[in-house]
């Protein structure tokens, strides 16, 4: 640590060069954090999934509905603790580009299924008492500036009303939120009974069921039992864990993780060239000085350490800045992007990977110049001077 002063002074030997190198490292790690957050938005759903929740969809396709009569039959299956249903409404608010998810469902069963969501008890009760009531997520409410008591008109694109119109109106009875920073609340819930009664077609059906497995029961076995129950009927089912269900979606987008990794690969390759070049220039310039250190009694190993520390120092300053500022930007942007790219978040695993990368980058950039410094022959170096 007492060598820190020496390392620091040496690092800033050429101020512009060091500053530009630190800035290059900064950009690389900023890109790393942003791309990690994007990757997480696509793949992180798996993280949030509860291992004890299962999703039941129509076997042929997710867009085919399931009869509501299945609800009781599912509830009766061994290992099922509680079950509720959701459907996809697919409307928009004011303009077609203001699309966010809307789900008709039952108030109490929904929030019982998702304890990670918070809603004040009195709001939930108010919603359960108002057939045309709705609750919206805090992310959504913040984005559009909605408040309790507001009238919320949604225009349907699929579900025309029985009276022929596509205008559905709801009263905002509650705003729910989550304390998990990875979760998104950019969606809306309204009453299934109102939905089923007012819609022009599809009565008696739902989109899918979500259920919780009883403590100790094997989710895979329960899933098999459910599918067996409805095999060979008009609407066969496919039951999977919530995690598998989330993953099946992200897989459909394509291999996002691969794309992100390839881009980051190009970025870090370039970064290593830049900092490696800086370090080798830095050592080449002060061969006599390094020789003098050795004459003073610094061992070969300590000279290696001094050069390597310089490389690590530069990389750590740039890297810490990149990760830090990246994290701040992600936090700031997350709510803005909530409707467009939910789940934009920098997980702890990415931060840890970032730190590991900083160490590796610092070592790789400095190792060859450091080895050269270590192997320097004092006599040869001084005679050159």
């Amino acid at each position: 640590m007492k060598y820190f002063y020496l390392v620091w002074k040496n690092a800033w030997r050429k101020k512009i060069r060091t500053t530009l190198t630190i800035l290059s490292v900064f950009i690389a790690f900023l890109l790393f954090s942003l791309l990690s957050a994007i990757n997480y938005a696509f793949t992180g759903g798996v993280d949030l999934a509860d291992a004890e929740r299962l999703v039941v969809i129509e076997k042929i396709s997710l867009i085919n509905p399931l009869p509501i009569s299945y609800m009781d039959r599912i509830a009766a299956i061994e290992g099922v603790q509680e079950v509720m249903h959701l459907s996809w409404f697919g409307g928009y608010y004011q303009e077609p580009r203001n699309q966010f998810p809307q789900f008709p469902t039952d108030p109490y069963p929904y929030f019982a299924m998702y304890p990670e969501l918070d809603i004040p008890a009195e709001q939930l009760e108010a919603w359960s008492k108002n057939r045309t009531g709705a609750v919206v997520g805090k992310d959504l409410a913040d984005q559009y500036g909605w408040k309790l008591g507001d009238r919320l008109p949604i225009i349907a694109t699929i579900w025309t009303k029985a009276d022929g119109s596509t205008n559905w109106e709801f009263d905002i009875e509650g705003i729910f939120s989550t304390s998990d920073p990875r979760g998104s609340t950019a969606y809306m819930l309204f009453r299934y009974d109102y939905f089923d009664e007012a819609r022009a077609f599809g009565q008696g059906t739902v989109g899918w069921y979500t259920l919780r497995v009883r403590n100790g029961a094997d989710p895979i076995q329960v899933a098999k039992a459910i599918d067996l129950q409805f095999a060979n009927s008009a609407a066969e089912t496919k039951t999977s864990t919530e995690a598998a269900f989330a993953q099946s979606f992200t897989k459909q987008f394509g291999n996002i993780a691969l794309i992100v990794t390839l881009v980051l690969g190009a970025v870090f390759f370039t970064l290593l060239l830049v900092s490696g070049n800086t370090m080798s220039q830095s050592v080449r310039e002060r061969i006599p000085e390094l020789a003098v250190l050795k004459t003073l009694g610094f061992t070969d190993r300590s000279v290696l350490g001094i050069v390597l520390s310089e490389s690590m120092l530069i990389t750590f300053i740039g890297g810490a800045l990149g990760l830090g500022i990246g994290w701040l930007i992600i936090k700031g942007l997350a709510s803005q992007l909530a409707a467009f790219l939910p789940g934009f978040y920098l997980p702890a695993s990415a931060l840890i990977t970032g730190v590991v990368l900083m160490i590796i980058a610092g070592v790789l950039a400095g190792i060859f110049p450091a080895a050269k410094a270590m192997r320097l022959s004092i006599v040869d170096a001084l005679s050159r001077a």
């Binding site: 000085e289 003073l296 190993r301 004092i378 001077a385």
Partner: protein, 229 residues
């Protein structure tokens, strides 16, 4: 009868350049008493720098032994030599070789980083050394802000800061004007006479050699004594 500080016994040093072998030192014998001030003169390529390197543990003889104090340099490993150098030898070069990124004070403190002294103690010892060479008022200056003579004095301060018994100087006044050269040589004399430092100075300047107690001539790898007046 003064004690011997350093001894070279039957020392030879041969370099291999490709297929050629160059014998720079040939069966050299030298005994250096404590507190002596010796000048070594000779044509270039005569091996005088090699002699200095051997005495300072920067190089090892091809045959023979080099002993300084209690240390048998020729049988020590590289890391042992490093450790030995930090407290036993001070080097002074023709081109000063100060670190440009450090101030005079910090340059002088450099050897003390290898000791267990805390930062306050290191600063204190460096100040003392700078005082001895008469540069206390330039402590915070950087090498580029100092004249040649001043830089060399900082180098001397660095060489004496860990209180070594032996100072090895390779053409210390080679790059200085007459006046600065004299100042430096007077300083070396002071270090020798008042601080009991044993000094071995390689030089091609006869006038510089006169500041020493005696002069040895190095030619084709052997030494010859010619006593100073």
């Amino acid at each position: 009868m003064t004690e011997t500080l350093a001894r070279l016994e039957n020392v030879s040093r041969t370099y291999t350049r490709g297929k050629d072998k160059v014998e720079v030192l040939h069966n050299l014998n030298l005994s250096i008493p404590k507190s002596d001030f010796i000048a070594i003169m000779g044509p270039s390529g005569s091996g005088k720098t090699t002699l200095l390197n051997l005495l300072g543990g920067l190089d090892k003889p091809t045959s023979g032994s080099v002993t300084v104090g209690d240390a048998q340099l020729s049988s020590m490993s590289n890391s042992q030599l490093s450790r030995w150098r930090s407290t036993n030898v001070g080097f002074i070069f023709q081109f000063y070789n100060l670190l440009p990124v450090l101030s005079a004070q910090k340059n002088v403190e450099l050897p003390l980083l290898l000791t267990r002294f805390g930062s306050a103690e290191r600063a204190r010892r460096a100040s003392i050394a700078l005082d001895i060479v008469g540069l206390s008022d330039r402590a915070k200056h950087y090498p580029r802000e100092l004249s040649g003579g001043q830089e060399q004095r900082v180098a001397i301060a660095r060489a004496i800061v860990s209180d070594p018994s032996l100072l090895l100087c390779d053409e210390p006044t080679g790059d200085l004007d007459r006046e600065s050269a004299d100042d430096i040589l007077k300083l070396l004399q002071t270090l020798n006479r008042e601080h009991n430092k044993t000094i071995i100075m390689v030089t091609h300047d006869a006038q510089a050699a006169e500041y020493a107690n005696r002069t040895l001539h190095c030619d084709k790898g052997t030494l010859e004594t010619r006593v100073a007046a």
